[in-house]
């Protein structure tokens, strides 16, 4: 995994391994920014296969997730066919053929001809319960029935990864259908390793200080706890500003990369900022 730019841990590895061997969807829950989506991307690279992503949102329905007919084409063909004097039955067969079907992510995921893709169903908690039920059915049989065409079976059963930010509880039935992984924010050691891998320009001292600063931040009660993505953004911003260590000025200039809530930014000024900074630079600051 590391080769693919992802620092995992044994739990993630075990979960991915079991999901692959048991051919079961993997449901990953965790706060925003802990790297849930990244896992699916890494899995696709590891398996050297295509990643098909379905971003969920409120109101997502079958037409945008599964399939839709290409009406414009159908209508044109209809007009042409009329001129040719075809019967109604012939016309119907013609325009409800596969050529006029627009494949949306879910249908695409089960019709790949060569190898099983990774299907990422992102932020399933945003879709409504009805869609969840539909998904459950799809994930059990990996087949889709289109009234006009018939049943389409998966040629290769895709590797399915679902993610959830836990903005609502996922239904029990869907949960039971999946294997489950909860992702927490990384430990200091892991976060620094991620920083070294992804922002190598940052150097050892800056990476360590950034890591400790973020870890100290997460232990505070914040409205929006920064995730790894924010840590990386922040480190990148600091590198751009040619910083090789943290000091008050550098932090104040760039804190917006890390804290994205007005209240949090206000809370972390003055003494609170000094304290956090002191924790972050404790080991290296004195020496440097």
């Amino acid at each position: 995994m590391e080769r693919e730019g992802y620092i995992g841990d044994p739990t993630i590895a075990t979960a991915l391994y079991l999901s692959r061997e048991m051919r079961r969807p993997l449901l990953i829950e965790g706060d925003a920014g802990v790297g849930k989506t990244e896992i699916a991307k890494v899995l696709a690279r590891l398996l050297d296969t295509e990643l098909i992503r379905l971003q969920c949102y409120e109101g997502l329905d079958v037409a945008t997730s599964l399939y839709e007919w290409n009406y414009q084409r159908q209508m044109l063909r209809l007009r042409l066919a009329e001129g040719e004097g075809k019967s109604a039955g012939e016309i119907e067969d013609l325009i409800f053929g596969r050529d006029y079907l627009l494949e949306r992510p879910l249908l695409r995921a089960i019709t790949r001809p060569t190898q099983a893709p990774v299907l990422l169903i992102d932020e399933i908690d945003r879709a409504d319960d009805g869609f969840e039920a539909f998904l459950l059915e799809l994930l059990s049989d990996f087949q889709v029935t289109i009234p006009e065409i018939g049943t389409i079976r998966a040629r290769h059963v895709p590797y399915v990864v679902l993610t959830s930010n836990r903005t609502r509880e996922i239904g029990d039935a869907l949960r039971r259908r999946c294997l489950y992984l909860y992702l927490d924010h990384p430990s200091l050691e892991k976060e620094v390793r991620i920083l070294n891998l992804r922002v190598p320009q940052a150097g050892a001292r800056l990476s360590a200080e950034v890591g400790r600063f973020v870890q100290a931040l997460r232990s505070r009660r914040l409205q929006k706890t920064p995730g790894v993505a924010e840590t990386l953004d922040w480190a990148q911003a600091l590198v751009r500003l040619d910083r090789d260590h943290l000091d008050r000025e550098a932090v104040e200039e760039t804190l917006g990369c890390l804290l994205k809530d007005q209240n949090d930014l206000r809370d972390l000024s003055g003494a609170a900022l000094e304290d956090t900074l002191a924790v972050a630079t404790l080991a290296t600051g004195a020496a440097g």
Partner: protein, 380 residues
């Protein structure tokens, strides 16, 4: 890599079943199908590696973060206390998936007796009078009439439009898929356009009801109202709090509102929860809610209803903190305060004052008229 049937080793199925039962006894929801998943997972991993077994079982049992500590503790205690069994070769056999029998799923919901005499005694006193009369001044017969009124009131609760589109006969967006199908029946002419529109959606409600001693005269009615709301808004979640927080949704449930239900629920709560009807610790209770339930029970569509007089002996700092977290996530927060019906009332109680900046509306809740005014606000 292939798998060995675990039957070759010790009695894995039995062991898993015992482990699952122990987890259930501690409140972790592990179903029979999860145990089957666990058993299958064990066939794929190195059984000699205790840490890997633990990881695999947490994945297969779908252990959520708040159950993690219990899982780890029980795993430590129960899972092959001695060193793991000798490593089983993974190179032979096929995956077998024996079912571990004998474990029954405990009934999850608490059953509340629903059969009760129905007291349909509506209307010897005019509704208009009832509506203005404070709850604590009502005679028993009036109270019963009021129960019915409340139930009807809740049903009037308006609903809002969903964002999904469903087929409709009236106005709406043109649904090309269905229009096209219909056109075929008429030789390709679009005689009738099929349409889709947004359906009505039930409101999402979260109710936090203060049941401390000072709320006694009001609790009965407020809970009644809440239960009635729950019937038109099946997604409503109801919590009661005084010195601790209890989720009472399963107690009030989806049952039809029968006159005795509230009494029985209150009696049950009083029996089960220590210090019921005693003091209040709003701050601690709100914080507990935020820590344990906020993420999964409140989203940007949820209207939070807090029913409390705001009289509190505890610290106010946690109140403000928890309210801020709630306000950040919920659509709106409505605070119903029975004391606010008094014209002289000022939100001076310390907890109330601390919460006020985060409350969208502070409303009186001492009589029916005040509850009636609340109804349209629930869908804002």
């Amino acid at each position: 890599m292939n798998a060995a049937a675990p039957a070759a080793g010790p009695d894995w199925a039995g062991h898993l079943a015992r482990f699952g039962r122990a987890l259930r006894e501690r409140g972790v929801r592990v179903a029979l199908s999860d145990e089957a998943d666990g058993l299958e997972a064990l066939t794929w991993i190195d059984l000699g590696d205790r840490d890997e077994v633990r990881r695999a079982l947490s994945v297969a049992f779908k252990i959520r973060p708040h159950d993690r500590a219990v899982f780890d503790e029980l795993f430590e205690k129960l899972w092959m206390p001695q060193a793991g069994p000798p490593r089983i070769s993974r190179a032979l056999g096929t995956v077998s998936r024996p079912r571990s029998g004998g474990v029954r799923r405990e009934a999850e919901a608490v059953e509340v007796d629903a059969a009760a005499p129905s007291g349909e005694e509506v209307g010897y006193s005019p509704d208009a009078v009832l509506r203005k009369k404070p709850f604590d001044e009502c005679a028993p017969e009036e109270l019963r009439a009021m129960e019915n009124l409340i139930a009807r009131l809740a049903l009037r609760l308006a609903t809002r439009k969903s964002r999904r589109l469903v087929p409709t006969r009236g106005r709406g967006l043109v649904d090309l898929r269905r229009s096209f199908r219909r056109a075929l029946a008429h030789g390709g002419e679009f005689l009738l356009l099929a349409r889709r529109a947004r359906p009505l959606e039930q409101p999402r409600l979260l109710v936090l009801c203060d049941t401390s001693g000072s709320m006694d005269p009001h609790v009965r009615f407020l809970l009644q109202f809440v239960v009635a709301l729950g019937r038109v808004a099946p997604k409503a979640e109801i919590f009661a709090f005084n010195t601790s927080l209890v989720r009472i949704t399963p107690l009030l449930g989806r049952k039809a509102l029968s006159p005795g239900l509230i009494e029985r629920t209150l009696a049950r709560l009083a029996a089960e929860v220590p210090d019921w009807s005693g003091g209040t610790r709003i701050g601690e209770c709100l914080r507990e809610f935020v820590d344990r339930h906020l993420a999964t029970r409140v989203d940007h569509r949820t209207v939070v209803l807090i029913l409390s007089d705001g009289l509190d002996r505890g610290d106010v700092e946690p109140v403000a903190e928890a309210m801020r977290a709630l306000a950040d996530r919920a659509k709106s927060i409505l605070w119903l305060n029975p004391l606010a019906g008094d014209a002289r009332y000022e939100p001076a109680a310390r907890a109330m004052a601390a919460a006020l900046p985060y409350v969208s509306r502070l409303l009186p809740a001492h009589n029916l008229e005040s509850l009636e005014r609340l109804v349209p606000l629930l869908t804002l």
